[in-house]
Symmetry: C2
Subunit: 158 residues, 2 copies
Amino acid sequence: MGNNIPDADAELEKSDPEQHLSDFIGYTMTRALSIVRADFARTLSEYNLRAVSFSALSIVVAKPGQTQTQLADALQVERSNLVGIIDELAGRNLIIRAPVAKDRRRHALMPTTAGKELAAAAQASVADHENRVFGCLTKTERAELQRILRKFRKMATV
Amino acid sequence: MGNNIPDADAELEKSDPEQHLSDFIGYTMTRALSIVRADFARTLSEYNLRAVSFSALSIVVAKPGQTQTQLADALQVERSNLVGIIDELAGRNLIIRAPVAKDRRRHALMPTTAGKELAAAAQASVADHENRVFGCLTKTERAELQRILRKFRKMATV
DNA sequence: TATTGTTATACTCTATAACTATA
DNA sequence: TATAGTTATAGAGTATAACAATA
């Protein structure tokens, strides 16, 4: 049973420690996304937004009136964990929890004017961020990357 | 200042709550990767491996003799957090911390025979997982996705 | 003095259960 | 009974500081 002794020279000509791992698309995508996320977080920090609060605000602006459960589903977070995100946005007067007359358990999430303005500004900065970070790819490559990723999201079954 | 009242019908014809967000490659990639990761985690659970311990083991097998600091850099984790990962793999006798004669502060990370075997088996399963999860894409699309992601990793500067 | 591995710790994220008020 | 929002909590994951051994 292998209690190997350090073998100083064998295999050391291989300079890439990721060799096998980078054969996997999932690994390459993970590393690529971590580069994107670093710049994305920097971009959103100007607005004191995290990725998830940016997404939440954007969705509330794009589709006002959703309940917290619906928004949690759209964001793929537990509805218990959405509470703090909504608290954060509502505390900054970017959205409000409006009562729903027909069902008093529910809150209709509505953007305020300030929320719409911040969402628009942040979205413009995120668009700049994407142009910056993906600037090393050609327009064709960016479009192809989006197309393939969208197809994957739509078609993947596992 | 906008204390908007729920506007029951306006905008409700829009059925996709992600509308603006899915214009961003980063958003699409995040969602795509979360699909991949779910199946990846399922695959590795057969071997009682997490993503990070699979990566660590794979790198130790591919390039034996690295120190913990070098491996931490390769994995992009803090070296303090690598300790537990190495403890886990060493506790299962998959790798060993071999002493380095020239510098007694360092450990040379070496795979055991069992570690090499588990890495090979897990890597085969991960290859199956990739074929399964990306089966909805054509071979050309998968190759193109890999090519673009690799170019991005190599070229991205931000 | 600086570096390697380590410990301790704190902060964020995520997941689950249980509560309340409403239906 | 069931559902929407909430609270509490536990488990990961991640980041920082400080320590002992060694260079």
